[in-house]
């Protein structure tokens, strides 16, 4: 049997079907939320709750490291809401004129020392990280978790040699889990989410991470503002608390 080779018509059909696929669910308007990677778990829950009360909207969350999101927004990504893991990255968005008004702080996070299974180095606090033979890595200084970790170490006057500047908290947690590292410093919520063993950092050395949120100039203003309000509402705060975040 002979089969006709696909002609130009077939390609046109294919192209059309691809376009249609992109438009599936077009009945709901999209609301694009750019959120820091550490917010992945609570924001997925927030997305569902918000959509339930706003049937006309389709919340689409884009999770990545805060600096990466900043870059995407500056390069013109169509985002409505930006939730950052620190004020530094939020300031960049403000400076580039993409933020609407003053950002609002919606959550706080604390740092914790994540340790390998069974805590073989018996790490009790930041001071133990400087011990000989203790393999420690941090996130890179451009990553919020990495900058906060360095601030905490400075407060505790502990000199730690980071074996690697990991690009995000997940990569760091994975390497500790695999036993390649004895310890690392990440957010408390990262430990909660992954269930990995964590050692608390003494209160006097703690650095509190503020999470700011803002609507963006490219946004559909009303819906974006509604989402921000929802995050700050009691029901939104409840979701964040359930994932280990503290109220602002």
């Amino acid at each position: 049997m002979n089969t006709l080779p696909p002609g130009p018509g077939a390609f046109a059909l294919l192209a059309l079907s691809v376009l249609c696929a992109c438009d599936a669910g077009a009945s709901r308007r999209p609301l694009r939320v750019f959120a820091a990677a550490s917010l992945a778990a609570p924001f997925t829950a927030l997305e569902q709750a918000f959509e339930a009360s706003h049937p006309g909207l389709d919340v689409q969350c884009n999770f990545a490291g805060s600096p990466q999101l900043v870059l995407q927004i500056e390069q013109g990504a169509a985002a409505d809401v930006f939730a950052a893991a620190d004020v530094v990255n939020m300031a960049k968005v403000q400076a580039s004129g993409n933020a609407v008004g003053e950002p609002r702080r919606f959550a706080r996070n604390r740092l914790a020392i994540v340790v390998a299974a069974g805590n073989p180095r018996a790490i009790q606090g930041l001071g133990d990280l400087a011990r000989d033979g203790c393999k420690v890595a941090l996130c890179g200084p451009e990553v919020p978790a990495g900058r906060y970790a360095r601030q905490a170490l400075a407060k505790a006057k502990v000199a730690v040699r980071s074996l690697s500047d990991e690009p995000n908290v997940h990569a760091l947690v994975t390497k500790v889990r695999l036993g390649e590292l004895d310890a690392g410093i990440v957010f408390q919520t990262d430990c909660t989410a992954t269930g990995i063993a964590a050692v608390a950092i003494a209160a006097e050395h703690q650095v509190v991470a503020d999470y700011p949120i803002t609507t963006l100039t490219a946004a559909a203003a009303v819906e974006a503002a509604a989402f921000v309000d929802f995050v700050l509402s009691p029901s939104g705060q409840q979701v964040l608390a359930a994932h280990g975040f503290q109220a602002p």
Partner: protein
């Protein structure tokens, strides 16, 4: 050689031009956004120097390892047909198709501190590969060597072994035959394999970051530095992209005799 005429010319020409643009525009983008005035200053920065030194060191070491281990492997693979060879070939070729991050994880599980071989290396010699330049080299070798083995095996399989018979009747023993007949005659394959291996090792990003970590001066190679710069200093990222693109263009130029020349 066919000459395109009439409407066919446009049917072919327009998509073809679009395809070329798909690849040309990103390159053009790099050149356009290049902070030319700060180029010299950026190139002289310690971060760039460290990354270049590390990249050169790890990619050249990877090439040396690929030749030292890959040439014997290619010779064995090309020396016959067997199920064992087929299995070995599939395993060796895996990094070509595998997402590099998977390669990095696999390397951790094997050569990491808690890995199969890594734990033994650690307990016996006190050697740990992750977070070391040796680890970055291993990751680069893992990604680059398959290209060398593939090219050399293909070259050896295409090589007419009767030339070895001719050399034997002229008195040459096996080693001499290999050095004076086989190697020169498969030289195009050796060159192409070495160039591809080196270029892939140089461009290796994910396996290195996953397995060896990311620290300036010890494991942060050019691509890793480029990734970090993308989030802190986009201008520097563009400069590093230019360096990597330039190297790739030179490599492709050197390979043109083999793959880019019209036949």
């Amino acid at each position: 050689m066919t000459t395109l005429r009439g409407p066919v010319r446009w049917l072919i020409g327009v998509p073809a031009a679009a395809a070329v643009l798909l690849f040309a525009l990103p390159l053009f983008g790099i050149l356009l956004r290049m902070p030319w005035s700060r180029l010299g200053e950026q190139l002289m920065s310690p971060a760039v120097h460290d990354a270049m030194r590390l990249s050169l060191l790890s990619s050249c070491s990877a090439l040396a390892l690929a030749v030292a281990l890959g040439l014997p492997l290619a010779i064995w693979l090309a020396s016959g047909r067997s199920a064992l060879r087929t299995v070995a070939r599939i395993i060796v070729m895996l990094p070509i198709v595998l997402p590099p991050v998977v390669g990095g994880i696999a390397l951790l599980l094997a050569f990491g501190r808690a890995g199969i071989v890594g734990s033994w290396l650690d307990s016996t010699f006190g050697v740990t590969l992750p977070f070391s330049t040796a680890g970055a080299t291993l990751a680069a070798t893992y990604i680059g060597m398959p290209f060398f083995v593939l090219a050399v095996e293909a070259g050896l399989r295409a090589f007419d072994r009767r030339y070895l018979a001719a050399a034997a009747t002229l008195g040459a023993g096996p080693v001499r035959r290999f050095v004076t007949v086989t190697l020169p005659m498969i030289r195009p394959s050796l060159q192409a394999g070495a160039l591809l291996c080196w270029a892939r090792a140089l461009g290796e990003f994910c396996a290195t970051q996953t397995f060896a970590g990311n620290l300036q001066g010890s494991t942060r190679t050019l691509p890793l530095a480029c990734g970090v710069a993308m989030e802190s200093d986009p201008e520097l990222a563009i400069v590093l992209s230019l360096i990597l693109s330039s190297v790739s263009i030179v490599v492709l130029f050197l390979l043109r005799q083999r793959w880019l020349a019209p036949r």
